[in-house]
Amino acid sequence: MKNLFCYVLIVPILLFQSVLTFSQPGAGQQFVKDNYTKREVMIPMRDGVKLFTAIYEPKDDSQAYPILMERTPYSCSPYGEDKFPGRLGPNSELMKEKYIFVYQDVRGRYKSEGNFQEMTPAIDHKRSNKDVDESSDTFDAIEWLLKNTHNNGNVGLYGISYPGFYASASLPNAHPAIKAVSPQAPVTDEFIGDDCNHNGAYYLLDNFDFYSYFDGEKNEAGDSYKSLFNAKRTDAYQFFLQLGTLKNANGPQYFDGKGIWGQTLQHDTYDSFWQARNIRPHLKNIKPAVLVVGGWFDAEDMFGAMRTYEAIEKQSPKNNNRIILGPWTHGAWAGRSWTKFGSYDFGSNLNEYFQNIETRFFNYYLKGKDDFNLPEATVFETGTNQWKEYPAWPPTNVTNTPFYLEDQGKLGNEKPKQPTSFNEYVSDPKKPVPYTNGVYARRNNEYLVEDQRFAEKYPEVVTFKSDVLTSDVNVTGRLKANLFVSTTGTDADFIVKLIDVLPDDEPNPDPNPRNFQMGGFERMVRAEVFRGKFRNSYEKPQPFTPGKIEEVSFDMNEIAHVFKKGHRIMVQVQSTWFPIIDRNPQKFMKIPEADESDFQKATIRIYHDALHPSNIVLPIMK
């Protein structure tokens, strides 16, 4: 997360939920106040830097409790020992279970001392007390807490988004008291798949909004940050198009080339800056039980959830490591209720189901309460709207099946035989394809499940669709796109969208306040972008040779979706997705240095012939 959504979305959800839970305003705060005592302390780290920490201990001191901790760059407000939040912990059941809840401002943020670093690089082998990272800060905090609270010696950590990263970062060389950790939508690798970039393509809209808030100046009291600038707008598409190049966004009126935003632009390849901020290589020899949580419709850190689970699974095979994936947006599982999203109606409150698992996870590992037999993977299957359990993730009983793009906009399992066949479109950076239909000032959080009929109407979007399915097609596992392309430019982006086309007679919801037209609805299931110059290496980008056919293959993470009988499977390919992604000048260069004059039209071809059979690989489960 990253993203305002921690601040703007999650916080309100939590507050809102407590209001609902206790049915009257202030009741949540009252419950916390009645049942917990609060202390605010500065905990010293090994290098002398002190971190601001809020500790909530149960008033009932008849027994020792485990510690459940969240480390955050978004503040452990409300500040003041007489100020109480509407809820403690990741869900309200856990609050009622009685834990010592600890919130800590990470190094350099809010009321903590020291210098903040974006995604603090992990140091596996520390040489001195000056070698600090989030693992050592967590370690030192826990040391102090164990000595200074009435605890049972067990510690758990959790966090969503950026706090999810801090949960992950506690794992390498973890303090032995840490027994259970739940990284939820953890920021994991900001060049390859989370927040800042996906496959090297810059997430302009999110970065612009997030860093302008997050990276502003801290006030003296340390309880708030001043936004770097205030860019009012009603239409993000138009605003960013008029803003123009990244260079302009980096100008004095906006980021002035400084701060984290400036760093993200200086590092326009997968260089040591980004590699040092990839937590995955450090997730070795992990001891605490891990419960990774992610959302299918998480616009920020879906990658992080799946790839964190994967890294632990591969590098710490003996670890008690499990994953839960549901049809959530970023952090939506922490709210009180999740029954519908976009045009989806899940039929029940999925958060109740999830939060029950979360509660049992911490209760078992930190309190030794009950038992906990969660399978390796618990995933919500969209399309059929049901929870599924698998002994491995991704499941092993699937057949990776290429669906070939074909002539005449078809999609099928037959490898094309024609000697030449391609679709062609002109990608014009001055008229990029919008990522959403309509006028939105901020990111439309529903864009990942939006009806793609609007996009199909653009001449620079190519669409391929299967025949009507004669039986259900269960796609569960990892997706991959393999494109054979050429361009008249020397760089290009490729966005691949996997879409479920509903039947023409699909009924509309009743009531239908959003006025969804469900017949023929083209519901996006997954989309991913790839910046073409990284096709062979993220570290060493390479230009395209104009007109030369090249393969661009990339990973699209996992899904669990059933394309029902009577539906169609659709794939769309396009080269812009604006302003979610910055515009590629379509000329091989350092994009943050591009001038407006560098942005050029390119004629792009997507091939589907015998030698160049572009396809998307779907993991089909029998």
């Binding site: 009012k232 707008r233 009603t234 239409d235 598409y237 138009q238 002109v426 014009d428 001055k430 008229k431 990029p432 394809v433 919008p434 239909n437 309509g438 006028v439 939105y440 000032a441 901020r442 439309n444 009806d451 009929r453 609007f454 199909e456 109407k457 653009y458 001449p459 620079e460 023409d504 306040p513 959003r514 037209q517 469900m518 017949g519 023929g520 609805f521």
Partner: protein
């Protein structure tokens, strides 16, 4: 002209609120009126079904207000009263004890005879078998004034849309009892600008949904039951459905060969004698009754007819003849509704429909049919000025102080009042019939009426839409009158369409008084009006008709040619702080059929004939594309 649907569906919705606030009116009507259904014989023996609502009042004689319609004078049965009498402004006429007459035109519903769409007027009738809509109206009026008790011998006719056409035809009847006629959004020229074609381009969605939706079905016997569409096509997304059906030829396959007029449309792709016979403007000389043409600035169907019927009558009759024009900020028929406050997202600041009903229409008929009141103050043209949101009165339309002023397309998407000085400068786009520009952004099936003032931001984003805009205006820019597009273009193929859109770009911080700011368009949130690109006027020209509508000519690939055409008249103030934008594109789908972009018979060509065309719109010293705007001085 898709009038059939409107009275039933759209007009009823606003009526309901009135029904609640005037619960006494329905009972009052039933207490004070009786209904009669009669067959009135025409001169050739054919009888036309006619519903008559007679006031019970016998203290004085009453005028007759008649509408002739192809959409039925339902409800049938003398016990069944039309709710229009108490739900619409008809109730004001009812309080004045007007006699209401509705007649099924020849060949429709319960009337005998054969229906002919926009039946040609016969100027020189030689016998009783030479009948037309004018003679049918004459015969009906004659029977009514001779047979209805307590009529005062004065007859008025009005009608909206297709009934507007019958109103025009009534005016040509020459019956001396006919004193006042109000053709409203009158179907006038189905090749040039109303309903089914604009400048020769086929309005496929309106045409197909209208004729194949039931209107065009044969009616062998008089009936009270309307036809049901037998079409089985997906009705989720008009764009997709119409694109999938493809070439016009394929639409004909779907309809079969029983829709006579649909076949006629296919048989007359160009403006020929057949079309001229169906253009009432050719026949409107020597009109006796007082005329009041009414129309909507944002009428998706018959905006052309309202402006141009007025102009034709003006031209062909002496200045002493009473002929007035009213244009409000309305969708098709909105002036007869109870809500004239807004259309789509755009607000008009007051209930313009009420104002019109009470200040213009009712006084007009009261004066001519009852001798009541004074209409000497009614101006020649009463035209709403959108943008400024006020009614304007003019002594002449177009106003004499409206100066045709060119605004030139510029490089870099600008607009300038000065002609360009650059050499060989153009904007380019590829028009791809496989991906036509949608006419509106939302997924829906029935053509919206709001597209006429919709936000065009969705179109600005497309690579096949050219956008030119002024800077922020320092002063109000007031436009009133005729708009002409004067494009200098070349294409890589032999035909193309050109759509020109005149757009008011609202300031970024714009919001209507009382509206709360809505930075995020959430569920149920109001539409984001900051930066709104309001379509004020849009029109299409089928390129092959650039020199003549009757003799189409191919383009020579890559040769620069002039495509000059009129848009419907405009009345809009671009307020200080706003911008003026012009968009140019070559498709407007599925409002308008796709041009194959080759010089072939579009009604007969195949799917494979539709090809991409690379289009250049020039804006240099030699070829300065420009839009001639009617700038109103002082």
């Amino acid at each position: 002209m898709l009038r059939k649907l409107f009275p039933l569906i759209f007009l009823l919705i606003p009526f309901l609120s009135v029904a609640q606030s005037n619960p006494e009116d329905s009972a009052w009507i039933r207490e004070n009126y009786i209904k009669k259904e009669v067959y009135i014989p025409m001169r050739d023996g054919v009888k036309l079904f006619t519903s008559i609502y007679l006031p019970k009042d016998t203290t004085e004689k009453h005028p007759i207000l008649m509408t002739r319609t192809p959409y039925s004078c339902a409800p049938y049965g003398e016990q069944n009263f039309s709710p229009r009498l108490w739900l619409s402004h008809y109730r004001y006429y009812a309080r004045e004890n007007y006699i209401f007459v509705t007649q099924d035109v020849r060949g429709r519903w319960m009337s005998e005879g054969q229906f002919v769409d926009v039946r040609p007027f016969i100027a020189d009738k030689k016998s009783n078998t030479d009948i037309d809509e004018a003679s049918d109206t004459y015969d009906a009026i004659d029977w009514l004034v001779k047979n209805l008790p307590y009529n005062n011998g004065n007859v008025g006719v009005m009608g909206i849309s297709y009934p507007g056409f019958y109103s025009t035809m009534a005016a040509l009847s020459g019956h001396p009892a006919l004193k006042a006629v109000s053709p409203q959004a009158p179907v006038t020229d189905w090749f040039q600008g109303d309903d089914f074609h604009h400048n020769g381009a086929f309005f496929i969605m309106d045409g197909f949904s209208f004729y194949a939706g039931g209107f065009g079905y044969p009616r062998p016997q008089p009936t009270t039951i309307g036809p049901r569409s037998a079409l089985k096509i997906p009705t989720n997304d008009n764009y997709q459905t119409y694109l999938q059906i493809g070439a016009l030829k394929n639409f004909m396959k779907l309809t079969g060969d029983s829709l006579a007029f649909w076949k006629d449309l296919y048989a007359h792709p160009d403006r020929d004698a057949w079309w001229e016979a169906r253009n009432p403007r050719n026949f409107v000389g020597d009109i006796k009754p007082a005329m009041l043409e009414v129309g909507g600035l944002f009428d998706a169907e018959d905006c052309f007819g309202a402006w141009n019927l007025y102009k034709a009558i003006e031209k062909k009759n002496p200045s002493s003849h009473f002929n007035k024009l009213v244009m409000g900020p309305w969708y098709h028929g909105q002036w007869a509704s109870t809500d004239g406050t807004h259309l789509g997202n755009v607000q008009f600041g007051s209930n313009t429909s009420f104002w019109y009903q009470n200040n213009i229409e009712i006084p007009f008929f009261d004066y001519y049919l009852k001798g009541k009141g004074d209409i000497s103050k009614l101006s020649e043209a009463t035209v709403f000025m959108s943008g400024a949101n006020e009614w304007r009165q003019y002594e002449q339309w177009p106003p004499p102080n409206s100066q045709p002023t060119s605004i030139y397309l510029d490089d870099n998407g600008g607009l300038s009042w000065n002609a360009p000085v650059t050499k060989n400068d153009f904007s380019e786009y590829i028009s791809d019939p496989a991906h036509p520009v949608p006419y509106t952004e939302d997924i829906h099936f029935s053509r919206t009426r709001e597209y006429m003032d919709d936000d065009q931001r969705f179109a600005s984003r497309r690579p096949d839409v050219l956008t030119f805009e002024t800077g922020v205006l320092d002063n109000d820019l007031v436009l009133a009158g005729v708009v002409t597009a004067d494009l200098k273009v070349s294409l890589s193929t032999t035909d193309a369409d050109f759509v020109v859109k005149i757009i008011d770009v609202f300031p970024d911080d714009f919001r209507y008084p009382g509206a709360r700011p809505q930075p995020n368009r959430g569920v149920g949130g109001s539409y984001p009006m900051g930066g709104y690109q309001m379509l004020v006027r849009g029109e299409i020209m089928r390129g092959r008709y650039r020199n003549s509508f009757s003799n189409p000519e191919p383009f020579k690939p890559n040769k620069i040619e002039t495509v000059k055409f009129n848009l419907p008249d405009i009345s809009h103030t671009f307020k200080k702080g706003h911008r003026l934008m012009i968009q140019i594109q070559s498709s407007w789908f599925p409002l308008v059929d796709r041009n194959p972009q080759q010089f072939v018979n579009i009604y007969q060509c195949d799917d494979k004939d539709f090809i991409k065309s690379t289009i250049h719109v020039y804006h240099d010293a030699t070829n300065p594309s420009n839009i001639i705007l009617p700038v109103l001085k002082n």
